[in-house]
């Protein structure tokens, strides 16, 4: 009786806990990632016919490359993956999250989706509103996760996508925890799941508004192209930061060095986030395994703390420090700023206070009054 009760409690705890969603670069990685602790996984699937016709000019998802191990390329790989899913019971979502497609591609993608659904893959990560609309108009009732590349900006945008039958919203990286919380509260969250980025690949720009090329030929991303500030003071700051960044990059493995939200996990959970995204298709498998284990350990630390401590983050941060970073500085590459929480940053603890909004100045007020008066004149 007691054993049953304990098992029931553990099951409920596991269901309440935020789930880890890890990126898969090839089917060989499925079992190691599941054993490391991933609850769900996602992968890209690009059939050879698509690559032959469109190459990387119009890719099927945001990994616009052929030279890296980031996609599944054949239907038989999906079949093998399905056999593994049946045994280990951790689902895999298929990413088709390009920002747009051309008209002739929608029917082809719908056929690919139907083929995948036929063998058992029924959840897809999509970013193009036209593709979501097309699938629904054709009566294809797959589960759709709205990709972070869709760039949902506010609660009204989420309501529009919810009407299209979205099952999960993946918040993009350039969101504060407060705005995610407001968006979750504003929509009917009963049948919706919410995913947030937790580890790796913090982009400098918003994915939804990144129209530049990310392909093999370019050698690097446009946002990483060398730039300079044109001002001595700015140059000096950038030099210091580049030096520190190179020091971090030389370290063989550092959890979250390219983007980390471990400190913000209590706030994400309180906001209503149900799933945590661990980006890493194409990363070294050993590093991904460590990332999954660290994220799982961080979630374990979260569970051990009491509710009051979770929201202020005091005890949680200290335990995270010991368990994951062993007292060493982290990568200082925070995805979210959790507000009034003690953060570990460069080995020093600092408190980030919630900034109070300053009073509006008289000149600003006059400017706004003049602006609305002119607008009123135009409308009338």
């Amino acid at each position: 009786m007691e054993t049953q009760k304990r098992k029931q409690n553990e099951k409920e705890k596991a269901e309440r806990r935020m789930k880890i969603v890890a990126g898969l670069g090839s089917i060989d990685e499925y079992i190691p990632y599941v054993l490391a602790g991933a609850d769900e996984l996602f992968c890209g699937y690009v059939p050879y016919n698509w690559t032959k016709k469109y190459g990387t000019v119009l890719p099927l998802n945001r990994r616009e490359v052929l030279a890296y191990n980031v996609q599944l390329g054949s239907f038989s790989e999906l079949e093998i993956l399905l056999a593994m899913i049946r045994k280990y019971r951790k689902p895999v979502h298929i990413a088709m999250n390009s920002l747009y497609y051309i008209p002739e591609q929608y029917e082809e993608i719908a056929d690919i989706v139907k083929q995948c659904m036929k063998i058992g893959f029924d959840s897809f990560i999509l970013a193009d509103p036209a593709l979501i609309l097309y699938l629904r108009q054709k009566g294809i009732s797959c589960k759709i996760h709205l990709s972070g590349e869709a760039g949902e900006m506010n609660r009204e945008a989420i309501k529009v996508f919810r009407e299209m039958g979205i099952g999960r919203i993946i918040f993009h990286r350039k969101n504060t925890v407060a705005s995610m919380r407001q968006m979750i509260e504003a929509v009917n969250a009963e049948k919706l799941e919410f995913e947030a980025f937790a580890l790796n690949e913090l982009c400098q720009f918003t994915g939804a508004f990144c129209n530049s090329l990310h392909c093999d030929e370019m050698g690097g991303y446009l946002c990483r192209t060398t730039y300079w500030g044109g001002d001595a003071e700015m140059e000096e700051r950038m030099e210091r930061m580049i030096k520190r960044t190179l020091e971090i990059e030389e370290q063989q493995y550092l959890c979250g060095k390219s983007g980390c939200a471990l400190c913000a996990l209590p706030q994400l959970e309180a906001a209503g986030i149900t799933h945590l995204k661990l980006v890493g298709r194409g990363n070294y498998v050993e590093d991904m395994i460590r990332d999954i284990r660290n994220l799982k350990a961080a979630l374990g630390v979260l569970e051990e703390n009491r509710r009051e401590e979770k929201e202020t983050g005091g005890g949680y941060i200290d335990q995270l420090d010991k368990k994951i970073f062993a007292g060493q500085p982290c990568g200082n590459n925070c995805i979210y700023n959790p507000g009034a929480v003690s953060l570990r940053c460069m080995g020093k603890k600092r408190k980030v206070q919630n900034r109070k909004r300053k009073r509006i100045s008289w000149s600003r007020l006059l400017y706004e009054i003049r602006f609305f008066f002119k607008l009123f004149q135009i409308l009338v």
Partner: protein
């Protein structure tokens, strides 16, 4: 957002997605595939019009020919086009932390863009201003006759963006 008597919603350039990159000349493959995007799909335009009253679209001149439906109002932004945009200010991030990636939501704008920009290698004709990266469409400046031919047929309005 809905159409009203006085306001006509217009789909802006950030929601009109296409591949734009000053390094496009190095891209291999059939680049004619880039001439279309999802707004060439009639079902999508119909949805935007019926749901939001959008019957007007903003485009950017981005270095290659774009296939545009002429059944709708189209405005062309010249000569700069956006390539990357962040929700937060990248200039403030660099001035505060020395790194463009360390951005945060700000309550007020100290307007660093009045004095600072990001500069790029000359051959890219690129500049980082505000929260975005922009590139110059040299093709347009080298062949202005093409634009003159298209004005009034393809484009109802020209928007000159000098950043």
């Amino acid at each position: 957002m809905k159409r009203t008597e006085h306001l006509i919603p217009c789909l802006g350039t950030l929601l009109n997605k296409r591949k734009k990159d000053p390094r496009m000349s190095y891209k291999m493959g059939d680049k004619t595939l880039l001439e279309q995007n999802n707004l060439n799909a009639g079902f999508y335009r119909t949805y935007l019009e019926e749901s939001f009253g959008i019957s007007c679209y903003e485009w950017e001149s981005c270095g290659y020919t774009q296939e545009i439906s002429q059944k709708i109002q189209n405005h062309l932004h010249v000569p700069f086009y956006q390539t990357n945009t962040s929700s937060y200010c990248t200039l403030c991030a660099v001035l505060e932390h020395g790194e463009r990636g360390k951005q945060r939501e700000r309550q007020e704008c100290p307007a660093p863009c009045l004095e600072h920009s990001f500069f790029y290698p000359k051959h890219l004709y690129m500049k980082g201003k505000y929260n975005s990266l922009f590139a110059l469409d040299k093709h347009l400046l080298d062949e202005p006759e093409q634009l003159k031919r298209e004005l009034g047929i393809k484009w109802n309005r020209l928007v000159v963006n000098l950043l």
